[in-house]
């Protein structure tokens, strides 16, 4: 059986998870809050969820640099949240106006899905 290429994880876009203290992380698998983005008593959800740090993590996932994504992400088996689909990735890149990135992402998504 061939290994499945790791896609970007939808958790980074879709599943903000807030600890009982108000600390915000990226998904419900991050029990230890390694991907803590901040506290919602001190910052708003838009400030943190559309902020620079998580944008860098999202870009790292899109470009396949998983070591540069959130500290929790490399400990995760990454299949629980599901993949973030290519059309949504392109939409994200267009929305965040990353020069040239939409093309790079398209090339990356077009790679052999069985390569690792």
């Amino acid at each position: 059986m061939t290994a499945r290429r790791r896609p970007p994880c939808s958790g980074l876009w879709e599943t903000p998870t807030v600890h009982v203290s108000g600390d915000l992380t990226t998904c419900c698998l991050d029990d230890h809050l390694r991907n803590r983005l901040g506290n919602l008593a001190e910052s708003t959800l838009p400030e943190l969820w559309y902020g620079d740090r998580i944008h860098r993590w999202r870009m790292a996932q899109i470009e396949g640099r998983f070591d540069d994504s959130g500290p929790h992400c490399n400990r995760c088996h990454w299949q629980a949240a599901g993949s973030y689909p290519p059309d949504r990735v392109r939409e994200y890149l267009e929305r965040t106006s990353v020069p040239g990135a939409a093309g790079r992402a398209r090339d990356s998504q077009d790679e052999d899905p069985n390569s690792t």
Binding site: S10, E14, T17, V18, S21, D31, L45, G82
Partner: protein, 256 residues
Amino acid sequence: MIYLNLELTDRCNLRCVMCDQAWTANVHDSPDRYMAEETWQTLLEGLAGVDEEISLCPHWLGDPTVHPRFGPMLRWAFDRNGGNRLFRHFKLHTNGVLLDRDDAVETLLDCAAGAEQRQDTFQFVHFSLDAHTADTWRRVKGTGGRRRAYDNVIRLLAERRERGLDWPKVTVAFVVMEENRADAAAFLAHWREELDAYGDGPQVLWDWPVEARDSIYFRRLNHSDQQAADRVHQEVLLELGLIEDGAQARTMDRSF
């Protein structure tokens, strides 16, 4: 759509064999506690500034109904959600055991029936049951409560019908494991009958619920040995006749 988990509490009234919360001391590296009402209100008011639609789930690792102010906090949220200004959807995950306290079922349905929001705002209540017999319940859930949980599902279904509400939908979930697989057929038969009696008839699922209907959900165990967990899941689906021999249980690329 953003699927926002807001943890009302990281405490739980059960001790399920498959749950990190039950078996890890200080699972978030801090003592278990309840969210302060002020924090809840601040966080919810902050949602008004989010451009994307929000599906709100007041749950992460604990059971939200354990919070001593569960009912008032829920009512506060729905009272301020006129025009769906804070959240587009709401879903509750619970083991159901405590829903016979403090008129909790009435609170849920009052919230669902709110006139100033879209009708399908309170989308579903997901009951994590995972057992059919009392013995299996005790083995899997770590304590008693099976009858209370089962009765509370029926109370919600009956009262929903009584009020003529279409929402919330009800999901009865069963995480498939070696410890409970012997109960799977009886669980399916029981809840098929009940959900037929109180609603439009359930869908039977083995992947994340995708349709807005009452559901019986044979859920895959999330486990460090995922292949072994998937094998048991597949075998049980075959035994139940939900998939054909040789077929792979379909799992969604996108779970949420």
